[in-house]
Amino acid sequence: MLDRTPPDDGHVVLSSITKSYDGSTLVVRDLNLSIRKGEFLTLLGPSGSGKTTTLMMLAGFEYPSTGQITIDGAPVHTMPPEKRNIGMVFQNYALFPHMTVAENVGYGLKVRRVPRAEIDRRVGAVLETVHLSALADRRPGQLSGGQQQRVALARALVFEPSIVLMDEPLGALDKKLREHLQFEIRQIAQRYNLTVVYVTHDQYEALTMSDRIAIFNDGRVQQLGSAEEIYARPVNRFVAEFVGDNNCLKGRVTAIEGEIAHLRLQDGTVIRARATGHVQLGALSTAAIRPEALRMDAAPFAGSLAATVRDSIFCGDQIRTVVDLAGTESLVVKSAAHSAAIHPEKGQCVHVGWAWEDAWALDA
């Protein structure tokens, strides 16, 4: 994918934000985030990581304890939600059950006192966009989950906000529908050049949809970058473990040669990994290696470790092999199912290894 991320124009800026509900525990700590006009930014993290609170502060339903939020330079963090002109799609959609689809979608225009005819025209147009024109007179209760989702989307778009927030909008849908709607949301976001801030705990959703991803944990942004960056160059162990699958080998740093760190594992084996800022001589470090970066062979090769196959799982397009190393560690190896690579049997002795650039020596 090309990097289509727009340049940093400081469209929406969150600076030094902290948020505490009870005055002692911080849900968000020292958050600094600059959102670019027209970008699709995903806040990804486990539950309780502060991503939803951040979204709520952007929307105006929560106010930051300290710090400020600006949109195009103007501070908005004390402004009530109705003044911010930000569209929002809620988890479980929050459609009004006592209104028809058209009334739901037209609500934002009605409260802005847009003339009746204009409301009808714009509601009709946006329903067209989300393919719901035929259902305008239904009530939300008569719609399927996917249709409700589209109404929620239409409702957030109809008053033409420049920023749209989405709080796990696809969480309640099944996989097929979710993938379809992911694509549609992307299309719409691009067509209207929307700035989208999207909250999810589904990493695949984040990887496929976003221009940039902010990984949240423990109230902080752990890493902010494009999907490729986040996946290929994790900055710390949390990101490495949270995004995609990773093999983590813990060891003590015995030597640092330029970019290469040597880690001695518990059983004495020394492995090589790319040194990051976390690595200190003599300290503990975790090396993260993607399962697909591992090479497995029947014969030993340069830098390979001997291992025993514990299990081999056929997953259609790939084979996942779990191998036990000499010590207590084990690794998962992913190999393409159609490749000529070996199809290991349980109990078989194999050799696994990796290029040092593919392993990241991170914090312990």
Binding site: A59, G60, F61, P80, P81, E82, N85, I86, G87, M88, F90, Q91, N92, A94, L95, F96, P97, H98, Y107, G108, V111, R112, R155, A156, F159, L165
Partner: protein, 409 residues
């Protein structure tokens, strides 16, 4: 996706289950159904029977009835009357007859008592003209049409006499047969008063209860818990105690007057007790939980995200509340209002203790006719009117509530 084969087979399998299986789900409710039958259906049937039964005249005066249809009868009618009375005296039917005829004509009771004093076998044996003279001599009312109309009124053992009375139709006549003004019991006014007081109390509990229910339903912390505790607190003291405490608060030297005097809002104690104000105040306090609890239950089910969604679309807090929250709370408001209104219609104790004579509702008169005047027929008829009225008013509303409650009640 083709669903039809499985759908067809499902329809085919849905045959009627055996009776045993269909009754199964109802079985646990049987004790309650038995209870209802015994303590609701049976008493209702008895009330209905009492309201319609009118046996005194036909039992005591079987022969005289035939002569009573056209006002004052000829001599033969008087002879039949005396013959009936002689028998009635033996059978002990005099007292009920006197009471029943008094309902129909002013002075009817005295006329029966006076006649009973002279009616014996000796008089019955005399010729009709002499009997007539003796009867009219005992009490001149017997020569006037009023009492004969009253006898004709009670000709059948079943009649709508008490129901008509309870519905405000004039049933009592003066001795000369003109409708008597029954000024004490203007039932039309009493029904209207009952409905007006109930509506006022219902309206006030809704107005006071709505914000309370909103705060309880939407606040998650201590405030909500404390408020719900305060709402439920009155349930833990008896109705009588609560009403009596209003007497303490509202009496001439009570708390309220002390406060008003201390605040300089009034120069001398106000007559607060035994007024419509006291009645409504006490009833609102008693009914508030009944209005509030269904509201809370419905409001709790409204997701907070709905109001947030409205706000995010540009609606201010008030506008979002009115256009999104309130419409969804309407079934709860209706349920609470309905409950309070129906309960208010039957209020007895509170108006009786803190209200004045002009604040008494239908139940007060039902109790009075049952306990003091022993006019069970009228008491039963009033009860029937109250039940029917409450049903007519409440039924459409409760249908609405049930349709919109989506199984929450």
């Amino acid at each position: 996706m083709n669903l039809s084969p499985s759908a067809t087979s499902q329809t085919a399998r849905r045959q009627k289950a055996p009776l045993r299986h269909r009754l199964g789900p109802v079985l646990p409710a049987l004790p309650m159904l038995a209870f209802l039958a015994l303590f609701l259906v049976v008493p209702l049937a008895i009330i209905g029977k009492t309201a319609l039964s009118d046996p005194e005249v036909s039992a005591a005066l079987p022969q005289a009835l035939a002569y009573a249809a056209d006002g004052v009868p000829d001599d033969a009618g008087f002879a039949a009357l005396v013959a009936d009375l002689v028998e009635a005296k033996k059978a002990g039917l005099m007292r009920p007859l006197a009471r029943r005829l008094e309902y129909g004509v002013a002075g009817g009771s005295a006329a029966v008592t006076d006649l009973a004093r002279i009616a014996d076998a000796e008089l019955a044996a005399q010729d009709p003209a002499a009997i007539r003279l003796a009867v009219t001599g005992s009490n001149p009312i017997w020569s006037q049409p009023g009492i004969w109309q009253a006898i004709d009124q009670g000709a059948a053992p079943w009649s709508l006499f008490y129901l008509k009375w309870a519905l405000g139709v004039p049933v009592k006549a003066t001795p000369d047969g003109q409708p008597a003004s029954d000024g004490i019991h203007d039932f039309g006014t009493i029904y209207l008063r009952t409905i007006v007081i109930s509506l006022l109390v219902t309206g006030l509990t809704v107005v006071i209860g709505y914000p309370l229910a909103y705060v309880v339903a939407t606040s998650s912390g201590m405030i909500g818990k404390v408020l719900i505790f305060l709402v439920l607190l009155p349930f833990w003291t008896s109705l009588l105690v609560r009403t009596m405490s209003w007497i303490v608060v509202l009496q001439k030297n009570g708390v309220m007057n002390d406060l008003l005097l201390a605040g300089g809002l009034t120069a001398e104690p106000l007559p607060l007790l035994y007024t419509r104000f006291a009645t409504i105040l006490a009833m609102v306090q008693i009914q508030l939980p009944f209005t509030v609890l269904p509201m809370i239950s419905v409001m709790r089910a409204i997701p907070p995200s709905h109001v947030r969604a409205a706000r995010s679309m540009g609606a201010g807090p008030v506008s979002a509340h009115v256009s999104v929250f309130m419409p969804q709370a309407v079934p709860g408001i209706a349920a609470g209002a309905l409950l309070t209104f129906v309960l208010c219609l039957g209020f007895y104790l509170t108006p009786a203790l803190v209200g004045g004579p002009g604040d008494q509702m239908v139940s007060f008169f039902i109790a009075r006719f049952t306990n003091e005047q022993l006019n069970w027929g009228l008491a039963s008829a009033l009860s029937l009117v109250l039940i029917a009225g409450a049903t007519v008013i409440a039924l459409p509303l409760s249908r609405y509530v049930f349709r919109h409650s989506s199984g929450r009640f």
